[in-house]
Symmetry: C2
Subunit: 119 residues, 2 copies
Amino acid sequence: MKINDVSKLTGLPISTLRFYERKNLIPDVFVQRDANNYRIYSEEIVEYLNDVKALLSVEFSIEELSLLVNQQLHLSYEEKKKVVEQKIKEIEDIQKQLRKSKKFLEDVLEGKANFQTKC
Amino acid sequence: MKINDVSKLTGLPISTLRFYERKNLIPDVFVQRDANNYRIYSEEIVEYLNDVKALLSVEFSIEELSLLVNQQLHLSYEEKKKVVEQKIKEIEDIQKQLRKSKKFLEDVLEGKANFQTKC
DNA sequence: ATGAACTATAAACTTAGGTTTATAGCAAGA
DNA sequence: TCTTGCTATAAACCTAAGTTTATAGTTCAT
């Protein structure tokens, strides 16, 4: 697969795929170069990038995710577990916050809360 | 209340309070100027800013929120309702995404999924 | 009445997460 | 073969959301 195929299958712009690679977010196993220096991707990159997209979309930064992906070989089980459990906690905090915001907006709709009345 | 009090009560840096004001996120009713041009805030600003923080933290941009806060006087009920319902939908999408990401990380912990085995 | 602490503004700076541009080498169908 | 399209890199550019800096006026405790 060449970069344009990956872009179409994942919805990520080509420029973003190259950018993620520079940020070390694309392990070598997923991409090699052909005789013309074109990137040739394995099929598995698609599922991998879908996970990456999901994790980046809210809770992980590129830097954090890159560290996790690249250092996991050198991390002990306990260390990995700590990082992942911490992230799960962060997700739960965001979920809590979202429930509050949603409630507030629903109250606004019902006239129970309102930016205006707060003024 | 002066700006330092608001900062302490909300946890927002003074620079951020001034920045939000420049972005029209602080309606005039919450802040006036004294003889020295110092900002004098009403008590209600604290609750307002807590709502603002919650909404900004995930789903709203400053620009969007500023529009909503400033234009709501001129919006019909139906228009406001549309904006707010749209935002609620966005929140629900984020919630869905978060549940997926959390599941993925839990699978990683249990060894069911793994960045490494994906390589 | 003076120095430390607080307030103000404008403008420059910062960081993350990309996107765009300039330039150049392959490719593939008419 | 030629032209349209795909690929490459480096470097410049962009936006959001703040933060920092420079400069100046104000206030308060001692």
